[in-house]
Symmetry: C2
Subunit: 249 residues, 2 copies
């Protein structure tokens, strides 16, 4: 069974992560949050599972929106320590767990949520199946992850075209597997999968996909943060909303 | 209402099209055909609609597989003339139609098929809705089209990365709309849409998507045609299998 790399507890990664807008400003600092929020079911009374909770911004949001319980999991002790310090809520339990080998009780949650964690998981089909088993009938899965177009390249980045335009250098799309990148710290490993594979994994785990959305910055976001303009050239984040399928006969 | 560009009847385009493997060799010359064929329902007795039939290779295949009737539509008189000459079958009717403004009888078909035509259609939501209305309950839609990653760039093509590797120069992904390209002839217009938009259009027209597949060459194809190796770097064709949803209450 794969073991999570837990880069988050490395001082270089943690220090850099700690300076990101999404870390300091919470959900409001994450450009894709409004699109993800629009995919959420009613949280009042819901039993929520948060896979890769980081600093706990979503867990606290869910608790403040009336969630009955929130089980917020992360592999990083440092992340959990910060979450408990800045986003403690009576309804939230922060707990260390490795998503590569997680086991969960059956029929225990109404919503499984995950923000930008699943592209780090090698054993993703196993995790999705475990999560499906942990959800109540017709419960929801709402996740964001890096888009396959973003994870595919062997050396992710922009190139200049012969016209002098900026283009995303896409290669390796059908070469699924690990990608070592230098995001925030050197040697971070992501797992690239095609859209075909990702959608099939979600379906095979027992979900019906209801919403498929590639995050694009809004006009308001673009006027406030001109640096987001490059996000119009290629999709960076994939957002999926799904529902647990009824058991087949 | 948009009017189809009908590039196919232009002598320069038709002459170039006529030399393509998929034109001369039929379905066996289309690398994505095995993947598309695997998505087809049983054809025996089926009433089949072929949108953009070209030289009639699929229409003849469907007839030979026992389809009850095949209505094979194309905007190009030259294409239809060739189809009638080389792929005539008693069960097939070849008919001129503009997919931008097509109207169809209700509840008249068991399968709607389209190979590499829909990315030329400006009024795609209208067409999909018309097709859904023409299908019997639970009938199938099986289509291939150019992948949004392939249609997105303002100047489609490969670039060299700083390492000397070959990469697809992706830009313009969220800038939906027409793209003038020089495929086979100058000034061919395609309509770029994001995956998000395409999947939403199919769903909103009244379909449930059952299969989502990005064509990739098989190992056998790669050994027979080494030129297909570049198709591993980025997705070129999107294949969708869908089923007409039951009417909602």
């Amino acid at each position: 069974m794969p073991v999570s790399q837990n880069i988050y507890d490395r001082p270089d990664f943690f220090a850099a992560y700690d300076r990101l807008r999404r870390s300091t400003e919470g959900l409001g600092g994450a450009a894709e949050w409004p699109a993800l929020r629009a995919m959420l079911p009613t949280l009042a009374g819901a039993r929520v599972l948060d896979l890769g909770c980081g600093f706990g911004w979503f867990a606290a949001y869910a608790a403040d929106a009336g969630a009955g319980t929130v089980l917020a999991l992360d592999v990083s002790e440092k992340m959990l320590e910060r979450a408990r310090a800045i986003n403690a809520r009576p309804a939230v339990v922060y707990e260390r767990a490795d998503l590569e080998s997680l086991t969960l009780p059956a029929n225990a949650f109404d919503l499984a949520f995950s923000s930008l964690a699943l592209h780090y998981i090698e054993a993703l089909p196993r995790l999705l199946t475990e999560v499906a088993g942990a959800l109540a009938p017709a419960a929801r899965l709402v996740v964001s992850m890096e888009h396959p177009i973003y994870t595919a390249p062997r050396k992710p980045g922009w190139v200049q075209t012969p016209d002098g335009a900026r283009a995303w250098a896409l290669d390796g799309y059908f070469a699924e597997g690990p990608r070592q990148t230098d995001w925030l710290a050197t040697g971070v490993v992501k797992h690239h999968r095609t859209l075909t594979s990702l959608l099939a994994m979600v379906a095979q785990a027992g979900f019906t996909i209801e919403t498929f959305e590639e995050y694009r910055p809004s006009a308001v976001q673009l006027s406030e943060r001109p640096d987001l303009a490059e996000e119009l050239e290629r999709p960076m984040f994939l957002l999926i909303g799904a529902r647990k399928r009824p058991e087949e006969e």
